[in-house]
Amino acid sequence: MRRLLPIVVFALLLVPTARASERHPTLAELEGEVMCPVCETTLDQSSSPAAQQIKRLIATRIAAGDTKTQIKNRLVAEYGSAILAAPPHKGFGLVAWWLPVAGIVAAAVAVGFGARRWARSREPAPADPPLDAASERRLDEELSRFEG
């Protein structure tokens, strides 16, 4: 539990930052989250006329006081959901978010099973049960006859 404490504190510190980003987005951060519709890159990597047009629109909406969600909704209404660099956290978009996580979990389970089987195969075989008195006597006789 003590090990988890720094992670929880760090996550709590991020909450106000995320809220500020939602209420007062900057052009720079939205440029990384919005696609240029003609060059298939994010806006921050494009200087095409279409990208410039969207950057101007974003700057205007930021100046008008729109939140990040409002700006993104407006862009989706104009250009469709493909304008967003990341798929939405709903509907079919959820597959893109959770499939990698499911893949990692499945791989971890598979590696766990494999490691367990490998560890078992390396354990020494259990020792044979001791011979009973009759068998031991018979073995001694056989050996002495063989050696004699």
């Binding site: 519709p37 279409a50 410039q52 104009e78 250009y79 469709g80 304008i83």
Partner: protein, 179 residues
């Protein structure tokens, strides 16, 4: 994990991979979305892909099928960020004066912000109606970027040609007006 369970899991994984491969092969084999522009280059005259989009002027929607059998069409794919589109749309506007009674001129504003598109039409004096294809999904069926792209559709709905050189405009206009 017991041996039968292990075998079942392996069988399921192999079946999943084979299923996905089969799906990929089927998709590639049945991919007939080469677009109108490519079909024209291959010497074909495909039927114009249907679309039903919102009009840029806010006066409802426009369905391309509504003109089939009634009027030939000039279809102009443009955007307000596209500099060469100014020249082509201005040429079409001039042609509208001569052919507007026999041919329908329809603009498709694509991958564009509709507010800027309306300003652009006003600024350049473009009066023929346009629809808004913000996602570019209609453009993709006709051949995709780059724009401008201008297609000529006969009254029957068959695409006659695409404007490639300057002379194509009067030639195809005469052809579809007589269709």
């Amino acid at each position: 994990m017991t041996r039968p369970a292990m075998l079942a899991a392996q069988g399921l994984a192999v079946a999943l991979v084979i299923g996905l491969l089969a799906l990929l092969v089927w998709r590639v084999a049945n991919d007939n979305s080469k677009g109108v522009a490519q079909a024209l280059k291959d010497g074909e005259h495909p039927t114009a892909p249907a679309f039903d989009l919102s009009r840029l002027d806010g006066r409802g929607r426009f369905d391309l099928m509504s003109l089939r059998g009634k009027k030939p069409i000039v279809l102009d794919f443009w955007a307000s960020w596209c500099v060469p589109c100014i020249h082509e749309s201005t040429r079409l506007e001039a042609a509208l004066k001569r052919y507007g009674d026999r041919v329908a001129f329809i603009g498709v504003d694509t991958k564009d912000f509709s507010g800027d598109a309306r300003d652009w039409q006003r600024k350049h004096g473009i009066t023929y109606p346009s629809v808004h294809d913000g996602s570019g999904s209609v453009l993709a069926k006709w051949g995709g970027l780059p724009i401008p792209r201008i297609f000529f559709v006969a009254r029957s709905g068959k695409v006659v040609g695409e404007l490639i050189v300057e002379e194509d405009l009067p030639r195809y206009l005469r052809q579809i007006a007589a269709s």
